[in-house]
């Protein structure tokens, strides 16, 4: 999330660390693709409804100023996750956010001025009511927003989400760039993974710190070089197929009864949250 992601490199080689991150990203993408194919409730809903509905609910969760209202949106998200069969994938996310945001807001319990609720034993630090309220707001809000955004991705195929962006008048050129970027991310991830795997297979003994830095830098530079070559090749291929700068997408979405129903549910929930979430 935010802040540098640092780890002690003495126990774990940086090559292992990078490989783990690359593999983790690819695994997440595969899992998201698989879960989008399940026969759950949200998987059958028109991607335009999901995109609009979830964005509306995220804005409602960010705008609401009452913990109860945000928690209500979270419960609605949880219900949708249960009906769509993606709760297991979301559990990891919830734990991650709880640990991350919890660590960030922990000091706020003691540093926010206000009415003292109780003192920590031994150290005597005072937990204040505004500190506790503020910490709860941030945790519940982060969990809710992340749940809704992830739910949208886990129940939709990426290509369908991209097409749905056109509903919001996003320029078609951006939609195409997003689609191509998504595809090339996996190609470049694979290339990067191959670098590190090949290096690990050929390595004997341990690298010293300067050699490790040299390897990280040269891998990044080679990847950049390959990216630029790839861009030229893709351009040539596009030209060969008749691309002249104008891009088109196929929009074959059709709204059905259940899509309208879900749209009504999203709008009603968001309207209620906007109204009840005011102070």
């Amino acid at each position: 999330m935010f802040g540098p992601k640092c780890s002690t490199g003495r126990r774990r080689d940086f090559v292992e660390g990078t490989l783990r991150r690359l593999a983790g990203t690819m695994e997440y993408a595969t899992r998201a693709d698989d879960s989008a194919e399940h026969a759950g409730l949200l998987q059958q809903i028109d991607p335009r409804v999901k995109l609009g509905g979830f964005l509306l609910l995220i804005v409602a969760a960010v705008t609401a100023q009452r913990v109860g209202v945000i928690a209500g949106i979270f419960l609605a998200g949880l219900l949708l996750a249960l009906l769509s069969g993606v709760v297991r994938t979301l559990t990891k996310l919830w734990i991650g956010i709880l640990v991350f945001t919890g660590a960030i807001v922990l000091p706020a319990l003691f540093t926010t001025p206000g009415l003292t609720l109780w003192h920590l034993p031994w150290v005597g630090w005072a937990v204040t009511a505004p500190g506790l309220h503020s910490a709860m707001m941030l945790i519940v809000r982060s969990e809710t927003s992340a749940t809704l955004a992830t739910l949208m991705v886990l129940t939709s195929r990426w290509v369908h989400l991209l097409k749905a962006l056109r509903v919001f008048r996003m320029p078609v050129v951006f939609v195409v760039i997003l689609g191509m970027t998504h595809r090339y991310i996996f190609l470049l991830l694979q290339i990067a993974q191959d670098f590190f795997d090949a290096h690990r297979a050929r390595r004997v003994g341990r690298l010293n710190p300067a050699q490790r830095r040299h390897m990280a830098v040269s891998s990044a530079a080679v990847l950049l070089n390959k990216s630029m070559q790839l861009s030229s090749e893709v351009y040539d291929a596009m030209q060969a197929r008749g691309f002249r700068g104008t891009v088109y997408t196929l929009d074959e979405f059709r709204m059905k009864g259940r899509d309208w129903g879900m749209l009504a549910a999203f709008v009603s929930l968001a309207a209620a949250a906007f109204w009840m979430g005011k102070q």
Binding site: T25, A149, F174, L178, S218
Partner: protein
């Protein structure tokens, strides 16, 4: 540095979306003009590179690792405008698909990393590298410094965005509704990690990749060379969105008159004597009453300078709204005059160089 949803208020998010929009517009227009049909494949692949580079762990002195954003490298290879777009696309995919960074905070993340990061990288790199040769070691130093400073300025922006939340967005009891830490905590907390680990990672990646390209593929470094004909400038046509935005903001300045309450910390010595203002001060300060007497230091220093238009209300204008607009016009005019004067001073004694900024 990827700010998740929920940490910034909707007002802050909307403001940063609005601040980023003219940059995206100008960048897209500029890049489209230069790249034409190459735009789609080049930006897609560069955004993918920007995404993947954020996954790289970089070994740092002391046995730790950090990860870079790659804003320095992307800017030097693509130029700042294309870099803004490539990093923005990468951030959008991270936000939507991988949940790294929020959707409501996407504008803020782009403002910090894609826009501020790219512009700072460009200006530091071009200023420090000057007219040195394409394979000069000075360019490696300039790239390393550009990456280090850019990521730290971006982190500072994020720290300020976090730090202003409890000041402006809290409930009636004073509980912060969003990021809970004040500027005094948020800025040092953000900067500590970036001045050390993340800054070093960005510095190593930027300097190292440029050094590698100097030996292996010099052509990729031409975009930000002084002789390149791809320029930052472009006259009125390219800067038009900024001027229109500025004019809109200027016209909207009287909206401040509608705001209820008092601007925290902007009180004058005479405000301490007015009971209604004292009440507002207490309400804005968590119900802590202001001192009975005017602080002596404030009283002494308040009289050292008398503003020609106190409270944005020139004495010769009766309408408060017109006073605000006139003050905004004068303020903007003064900033432009000072900027032009500064530019003239910096250029004194230097040979005429065509301004440059790639793509």
């Amino acid at each position: 540095m990827h700010i998740p949803d929920g940490y910034l208020s909707p007002t802050t998010c909307a403001t940063l979306y609005a601040a980023s929009t003219p940059f995206w517009y100008t960048a897209l227009k500029r890049v489209r003009e230069k790249l034409s049909t190459r735009l789609v494949p080049l930006l897609s692949v560069c955004a993918a590179f920007s995404f993947v580079i954020m996954m790289f762990n970089v070994p740092l002195p002391g046995g730790t690792t950090g990860h870079a954003v790659g804003m320095g490298v992307t800017t030097i290879v693509l130029g700042p405008w294309a870099s803004m777009l490539a990093i923005s696309v990468a951030l959008l995919i991270q936000a939507i698909f991988f949940g790294d960074g929020g959707i409501t905070t996407f504008g803020a993340n782009c403002f910090n990393m894609a826009i501020v990061g790219s512009l700072v990288s460009y200006f530091v790199y071009t200023t420090v590298s000057g007219r040195s040769g394409i394979t000069s070691p000075r360019r490696v130093f300039a790239a390393a410094l550009a990456g280090y400073i850019a990521i730290n300025v971006a982190a500072l922006c994020a720290g300020i965005e976090f730090g202003i939340q409890p000041i402006f967005f809290h409930d009636a009891t004073g509980s912060p509704l969003y990021a809970p830490y004040s500027l005094g905590i948020a800025v040092p907390a953000m900067m500590l990690g970036h001045l050390t680990f993340a800054g070093l990672a960005e510095c190593i990646i930027s300097g190292g990749v440029i050094a590698w390209l100097q030996h292996s593929n010099v052509a990729l470094l031409k975009a930000t060379m002084p002789t390149d004909d791809l320029a930052l400038g472009g006259g009125w046509r390219l800067t038009r969105p900024f001027w229109i935005g500025l004019a809109a903001l200027m016209i909207a300045t009287p909206l401040g008159l509608l705001a209820a309450g008092t601007a925290w910390g902007e009180w004058g010595p005479d405000d301490f004597e007015k009971p209604e203002v004292r009440q507002e001060m207490a309400a804005a300060s968590n119900q802590i009453a202001p001192p009975e007497k005017v602080p002596s230091g404030m009283e002494r220093l308040a009289s050292t300078w008398t503003a020609p238009f106190p409270d944005y209300a020139p004495s010769f204008l009766k309408s408060a709204s017109l006073g605000y607009i006139l003050s905004a016009m004068m303020g903007i005019g003064l900033v432009i005059v000072v900027g032009l004067f500064g530019e003239r001073v910096i250029r004194l004694g230097k040979p005429e160089v065509k301004p440059n900024m790639a793509s």
